[in-house]
Symmetry: C2
Subunit: 348 residues, 2 copies
Amino acid sequence: MTGKRSPARRPTMKDIARRAGVSESAVSFALNGRPGVSEVTRDRVRRVAEQLGWRPSTAARALSGEGAATVGFVLARPAGTLGVDSFFLQLVSGIQEVLAERHLGLLFQIAEDIDDECAVYRRWWAEHRVDGVLVVDPRTDDPRPGLLDELGLPAVVIGGAPDERHPGLSTVWADDAGAMAAVVDGLYALGHRRIAHIAGLPGLAHTERRIRTLRAEAERRGLSEVQSVPTDYSDEAGAAVTRRVLHGPAAPTALIYDNDVMAVAGVAAATELGFTVPADVSVVAWEDSALCRLVKPWLSALSRDSVEFGRTAARELTALLDGGPARTVRVPVPGLIERDSTGVARAV
Amino acid sequence: MTGKRSPARRPTMKDIARRAGVSESAVSFALNGRPGVSEVTRDRVRRVAEQLGWRPSTAARALSGEGAATVGFVLARPAGTLGVDSFFLQLVSGIQEVLAERHLGLLFQIAEDIDDECAVYRRWWAEHRVDGVLVVDPRTDDPRPGLLDELGLPAVVIGGAPDERHPGLSTVWADDAGAMAAVVDGLYALGHRRIAHIAGLPGLAHTERRIRTLRAEAERRGLSEVQSVPTDYSDEAGAAVTRRVLHGPAAPTALIYDNDVMAVAGVAAATELGFTVPADVSVVAWEDSALCRLVKPWLSALSRDSVEFGRTAARELTALLDGGPARTVRVPVPGLIERDSTGVARAV
DNA sequence: CGAGATCGCTAATGCGCTTTAGTCTGGCTG
DNA sequence: CAGCCAGACTAAAGCGCATTAGCGATCTCG
């Protein structure tokens, strides 16, 4: 009879205690660096632990009040728009890097929508699963900060503007208002006066922020033919909106897309309509990726270091878990990489 | 003095017991559907639990032998090639769907390389963090199945051919040998006799399988000018290899790319060299995605349902966790979606 | 009608760890 | 030399849950 699984019992502190000839408490003291044991004993215990390949059971640790050594990350996006941009994997990659150093786990979950996401937080909290969470895609009028405050779950909001109503949360964000201003500056300098902004999901804080900033920048320069059109980030939407705005006599001469996928789809759509990029219309993608250099012409894009963004967020969260104060930190404004899709505006 | 965080204590079974006027054990019996309490009491307890918003502490559960209610997923790929294809997020999305139903958490980690990945498994096991794991990117001569067997950690290998040496592991895979045969069939029928296969990472089981199958198919038809070139999946490699194989007098008339990104990069490279797709050279991408319809010409691609793939894998793992036997299940062979990048071979 | 089975429930134990409250020894002080 | 105290360590309790043993009360059947 072969057993179901080879047992391979994991060593516990009791095993260490026995082998080292001390009590379990001594082992605990020794391994956690607290006073109560002599240095000699501490060393011996450490050696035995290492030799046995001992690692603390997170379950037991969590149960005795130490926290779960895990942070949570929920992604609430329509299933269709999931794999399209590379931003999230890069972000997660950066997050991981920092968490791994401290042996913190990352509990990952995909949710249907924001209510579902809130339910996940509640469950995680009740189940004692996570010590803190990373929140992405902050919205205008977002229910999550309030909930997390209420639950007392440490959290850092990624990509949101600081929210003074929830001083318990940290925020890590890039000033896309500044980036938008820079883009408009550049386009204006090239002679563009009619600009369309194919925006992302309405309701997302940064979408609204970009739209607001664009409007403000336009007003500041007396441009009246500037518009923002929200989408769902999909390539279909990008193409459809492109066709729509390009239709008619006073078509924009510059298009700003809120992600790379839409930009690529938009270029294809524009080309089909007989527009040449950048001769007839300039294109800027808000998010750089391999994609931007996979198509012709190469896309000018706003580039940021998403991995570093993730690292920063994770660092803020660990600081919070260590009992530090909530902070608001700004990561560098995305920079415009000028490639082949932007040029001097066609003479009207 | 405002406390650091609002306490918001989570309810425990003791609270329920008190409110329902029964013992803790009765509560446990009631809530877990085991015999030992009357239906009346069970209902009452359930109601109280719900009203209190009680959820079992996974820590406590895990400690009392029930497992951690979590499965692990490690991604070991070079950081650069991380966000490029949409396969993983879709896979994870499918996995989630199944896990969420059973309230299983997904612990996600990115590793440097396969040794690092093994270390992660060891740690997870020792820390009692996961009940099972999902393994991707199986390799020829893979150390992971052996390790997982040794640790007694239930696991399902995603995308690997069945491995009779480790009967404890389940396997979920698509028969890409069959798919490759179908692709070659199609290309052959279109008159293609010289085919280049821009393959993925060498050492990955499915890369080797595809290469082997292609060779076999070529031999079967007496084609001598068929080659496979392994790459690192990056767009740069895709472009570089494309330029290389297209150079010279007997250039292939058909190119098979092991992912969508390389295919797109390859088309761009070929176009630069003066080749027209599909007039001069046909292109097939092994992995369909939005990307394939973002470029001109639209790419013919092998399409599979990655989300369903993930679902299937997760289902197998949960079956394993329930004590079921290890199984090998095949998901449907990817189907060739013929779009605009494949055509009749140019007359030689 | 009494012995055993069954039901509905409670008390107690253990999972692996942290932490508090001791215990004991040796050295130091007055 | 009694009295104290610091240092090194142990004993025990508790975290939230599952589980086993146990205990009356009711039921069943010979």
